[in-house]
Amino acid sequence: MLRPRLFLSAIALVCLSATLTADEPSHVKVSLMPEVRTIAPGAPFSVAVWLKMDPRWHTYWINPGDSGAPTEIKWNLPPGFEAGPIQWPHPERIEVPPLVSFGYEGEAALLVRITPPRDLKTGERVTLAAHVSWLECEELCLPGEATVSAVVQTGPNVENDPTRAKFFSEARARLPLDSAGWSFAAGSGRGFVRLTATPPVWLKEPVAEAEFFSEMNGQFSNGRSSWDRGDGAYVIDLPLSDVSTAPARRLTGVLVSKSGWRGPGSERAIRVDVEIAGNTSSLPGPSASASASGLLGAIGLAFIGGLILNLMPCVFPVLSLKVLSLVGQADAPMRARMRNAGAYSFGVLVAYWALAGLLIALRAGGEQLGWGFQLQSPPVIAGLASLFFLLALNLFGVFEVGMSLTRLGGKNAGKGGEGAGASFSSGLLATIVATPCTAPFMGSALGFALTQPAPAALAIFTSLGAGMAAPFVALAASPRLLRILPRPGAWMETMKQALGFLLAATVVWLAWVLGQQTGSDGIAMLLAALVVQAVGAWVLGKWAVMTRSTPVRTAAGIVAAVLIVGSAAAAVKLAGAGGSPAQAVTTETWEPYSEARVNELRAAGRPVFVDFGAAWCLTCQVNERVALSAAPVLAKFREKNVATLKADWTSRDPAVTQALTKLGRGGVPTYVLYSKDASAPPRLLPEVLTPTLVIDVLDKL
């Protein structure tokens, strides 16, 4: 009965008054339904505990999720009878943001198998009884309990109750399938468990979005995980909750999909119960262990990689502008030159630290990312394209803002040197544009860095930045080197304009990358935004100049700023909204990569060559065109019966990131050759390929 104190508070609750009472009628009706009329000695039969919920009320699955409690059944059976565990129908996701529960709305039939004793007397009536307790929730939660019973006959043979055949077949359709030809594997990464589901060969239809429900409460964070279709298998990454202190050894639960696991319209749930394989992300990759030189070696490699980066096409335009500024400064005092070089180096380092710090932080958060991750995001690509386009317009002389953008590159010839701020900016810029290029030696150094604790990783990135800044510092510091450069003159303006075309070409390339990520709609939106930007630049160049009156200049400045900033923002935003990515280009020779496919091909006795690349990776594009598409190379692939697979990393793909991590690499390009001998370690090729190099490697097979 109601206690007076509770009653007072119930009155205070006004509209909720009824909900606090202990004798609130239950919102769940329970009944016990045997599938049979007659049971026989020793012959197991099924019964259903049938829960029927009022609208909006729910009860819970074995793992209730963030809140709630599973339904319990205590059996009261005649002596010698044994009841099995509850066979839970697959749950639904019940979301009350920010919380998620797993349970049932409408109704739920909990099936249990009961085995009568062998010495059961026939020709009698027996009563099966159970005490069922559950938690029912709408917004409010109430505990519910009921004693239910059913009477069955005993006889020599089991006799089904025909009126319940349909009920039980529907109830069984909600039980998870046992395997139905699917095979599952689980591996643990940093902060998540990856479940790989391989469909049976005969299943041709794809399985739509599926969701995994772990039977272990608190094992995973209860948010949704995406179900990604690879080539031969599906992959779902389950983020561990921070409660799971000891990593679980097994993954037990059900996968639920809207489409059936045996084809459309079949059972929606399938049982998963697999061992979780060891920590894949902490396994040392072959190249990390090969360069056993360790941290110092990696730092050295990073420095050399940084040096070579200067010669890569990505950095070249920005660096050239920078060198032009030095030409102008040849007569400036050493101190001024060194201050610039220092600022430039600092800019390079700050950009590397920022990118590396972000990368390390996100990886610590369990993200599957590698070097170049920022270019996997369409808004970043769109933003960079806008920036480069503006720079190009500026170099062409369309506009000269009071604070000319060219000074980033440093065209300021006559005034005895540009400011440290501009040098710092060009350092930042050089690093941003350098990311799509991977220089030789960089791959293994970065791969090593990403397996190291944060301080060691930052040391390697710092060394990379130092290597990249080194040539410029050397040039600034040595008057003798400077003298080799031509004298300043009118040629510098011409060169500046020529470099503008290089930047324009970069914009074309970025637009192509965006197209790979978001389809032709994305390109169209970007180009439209660039046109508006050009209008802004033109307004700026025509009316916001010293020859105009102050009001005109101010108005023009505002109009231009709105046009330029607005269109850049629109480009970034629209790219983020994204379209459908362009279909990955696969030809007869190159098929898409998946780990399962590699294993399959090797099992079939074929060596496998995998090209890990991305549209935004310029080095990859060059390699593919120069080395991998060369006729003699293709002929050699055929001669050696090598299967060629392409792993596309243009957009984020955890499967590819994990494969790269396993190989000890932090980014693309990565080329790897697996011999058909499954025990032989994979062979990594250098980052920059030539036809002869590839042919030589293939010859050694």
Binding site: S221, N222, A354
Partner: protein, 214 residues
């Protein structure tokens, strides 16, 4: 000067790019309540109690603080209050000098939301030993702590570091018989930490009714 402006603009662009990249990446992370990890500083907490007094977690530096998410209409909470288990736990803790703050995050008009007057009746009638019952109708504090259920317990050490979060005990049911023989994680954490030992069970899956957020 102008050069400094240019530098600032470029730096801004870089930061914006980084922010967009990380935003896009964050975007794909499944949405669920973020929880502060055990071992990190407990999130800030400033709330008014049922008697109108303000409490700021920072003011309790130097003392152990227990946070208890409470909703008196929830069957799991009822199990602990009607058996007297929660009050006994509160008393044991408070007698050791612990500050015990019960927090009610039920939003206005949602189940479990009581007026300050109704709360004061409950505190007296149920003989609660909480230092105070704090009202969090906006749910902001509950969400920063990642409070999912009632009860949901947090223990903060004198340095302001979270040393336990999760269930009150190891019996996730509404059945009162389960209380005898249950392991009380909150008292265990307080005992271990006060004895200078690390907390052996520092994080558990909480159980109970969902917190009735807005």
């Amino acid at each position: 000067m102008k050069k400094a402006i240019i530098a600032a603009i470029i730096l801004g662009v870089v930061v914006a790019i980084a922010a967009i990249a990380s935003y896009r990446i964050r975007d794909t992370v499944p949405t669920s309540l973020k929880e502060p990890p055990v071992g990190s500083p407990a999130p800030a907490l400033t709330l008014t109690d049922t008697k109108g007094k303000q409490h700021n977690l920072a003011d309790y530096k130097g003392k152990y603080v227990v946070l208890e998410w409470v909703n008196l209409g929830c069957p799991f909470v009822k199990k602990h209050y009607e058996s007297g288990n929660m009050q006994a736990t509160q008393k044991k803790a408070v007698d050791k000098g612990v500050v015990w703050l019960s927090v009610n995050s039920s939003a206005k008009w949602k189940q479990g939301n009581l007026s300050p007057a109704a709360w004061n009746d409950e505190i007296a009638g149920r003989k609660m030993s909480s230092t105070a019952v704090l009202l969090d109708e906006t749910g902001e504090v509950g969400k920063t702590y990642g409070a999912k259920t009632t009860p949901h317990m947090y223990v903060v050490n004198p340095d302001g570091v979270l040393i336990y979060k999760g269930a009150i005990d190891d019996q996730p049911t509404t059945n009162k018989d389960s209380i005898a023989g249950a392991t009380n994680y909150v008292l265990a954490a307080l005992d271990e930490s006060m004895a200078g030992k690390p907390v052996s069970t520092a994080s558990t899956q909480s159980y109970g009714c969902s917190v009735k957020y807005k």
